[in-house]
Symmetry: C2
Subunit: 233 residues, 2 copies
């Protein structure tokens, strides 16, 4: 992360420029989602020079990580999971996930994000765009897996579900089961989702099971609203 350490503390006072940028960014990420938020617009709304935003925070990703305070360094995590034997990538990912979540301090922002994602469309959008695109899709791509987006969704489904079942809902004995054992069981699932054979209709190869379903499911199927369950207007 290339955030310049101009100051020793993160936020020396409530009204510094840095804090102002952070507050504006936090609000804008929440309101617009990760994709539609721009460094330039944050600068305009904060009333500062756009160059100052990059100067303090580096990239948009760095700024996002700074304000959301996720206990994850994406590039480090991606490197860790994708270096080494491909056969054990799933277990490495599961182990990192459990290491983070078993630590109460690191777990808190993630639990908060998942909680928010279940009730606020903006938070759901952030989880969808940020965690998927910046963490899981790159992992699948670096492992040379086909259908990286679909695989990333499956990985996210099991990872979010594990967070809920083990740490939020607290289903026993899963909740108190030793970390290494859960990592092994979870890891086998993530391994299959990342690199195993899946039943997805082949988009990038001919033949096989494409009669099972339309080839371009994203466009052939009616869109399913992501935020179902919210009160209709």
């Amino acid at each position: 992360m290339n955030r310049p350490a101009k100051r020793t503390g993160r936020r020396p006072g409530p009204n510094t420029t840095r804090a102002l940028i952070e507050d504006t960014a936090r609000e804008q990420f929440a309101r617009l989602g990760y994709d539609r938020t721009s460094m330039r617009q944050i600068a305009i709304e904060a009333g500062v020079d756009p160059a100052l935003v990059s100067h303090y925070f580096g990239s948009k990703l760095d700024l996002f990580l700074a304000v959301v305070e996720l206990p994850i360094d994406p590039s480090e995590l991606i490197d860790h999971v994708t270096s080494g034997e491909p056969d054990s990538a799933g277990v490495r990912l599961a182990t990192v996930v459990l290491d983070i979540l078993d630590d109460e301090v690191r777990r808190r922002p993630i639990v908060g994000m998942i909680r928010a994602a279940t009730s606020e469309p903006e938070a759901a959008r952030l989880v969808r765009e940020f965690l998927t695109r910046n963490l899981v899709v790159p992992i699948a791509e670096r492992l040379d897996a086909d259908h990286a987006d679909y695989r990333a969704g499956l990985v996210m489904s099991q990872t979010i579900g594990l967070t809920l079942a083990r740490y939020i809902v607290g289903i026993e004995p899963l909740a108190s089961h030793p970390r290494e054992l859960v990592a092994a069981d979870l890891g086998a699932t993530l391994q299959r989702y990342l690199l195993g054979e899946l039943s997805h209709p082949p988009i990038d190869q001919e033949g096989a099971d494409h009669e099972l379903a339309p080839r371009r499911v994203r466009h052939d199927l009616p869109a399913r609203p992501a935020d179902v369950g919210h009160p209709a207007p």
Copy 2:
């Protein structure tokens, strides 16, 4: 379900005895959880004869299903999944789950329950006790699987996670991927969780990998609070 159909509609008027019992039950299930709620206590709080509660609703499970209005008949679902080839139990379970969730009307109460479970300890307790014990553990037991409780937790983790990823957070292309294909991919995971080899320490058989971890993990490990992230007092 042996709920007597004494009346044609569910709730003929806001102040009938039946509606009063339902309201009291709803409140008590939410406050005390499934286990600590009793038919007798509901009757007392509603100021009606305990016999009337059984008369209208049958068992506690029936009453719970009536007030929570889950779109699931547990015994039917358990029968469906556990009848037929054990090798395809996972796919059958995944297919039922997706059939329910792809139907917006049936999905709504489940999404509501999961939403509530992420922020309210009482709802979390209900999910934990009710769905796990009355649905998933019986399925694992009927399939003669060892460690049914642990397996149920893993199944719940993937099922809750799928609900979040596909329907609440809406991660694409998983969210619009054809149901049968997701059922196949999910089914393989559920199959392994239900009947496959897992790394759990053997409790009911000697030898093997018991050196990996304490044998009775529930008691040897410090309890992890289920409702982490809630503001400490």
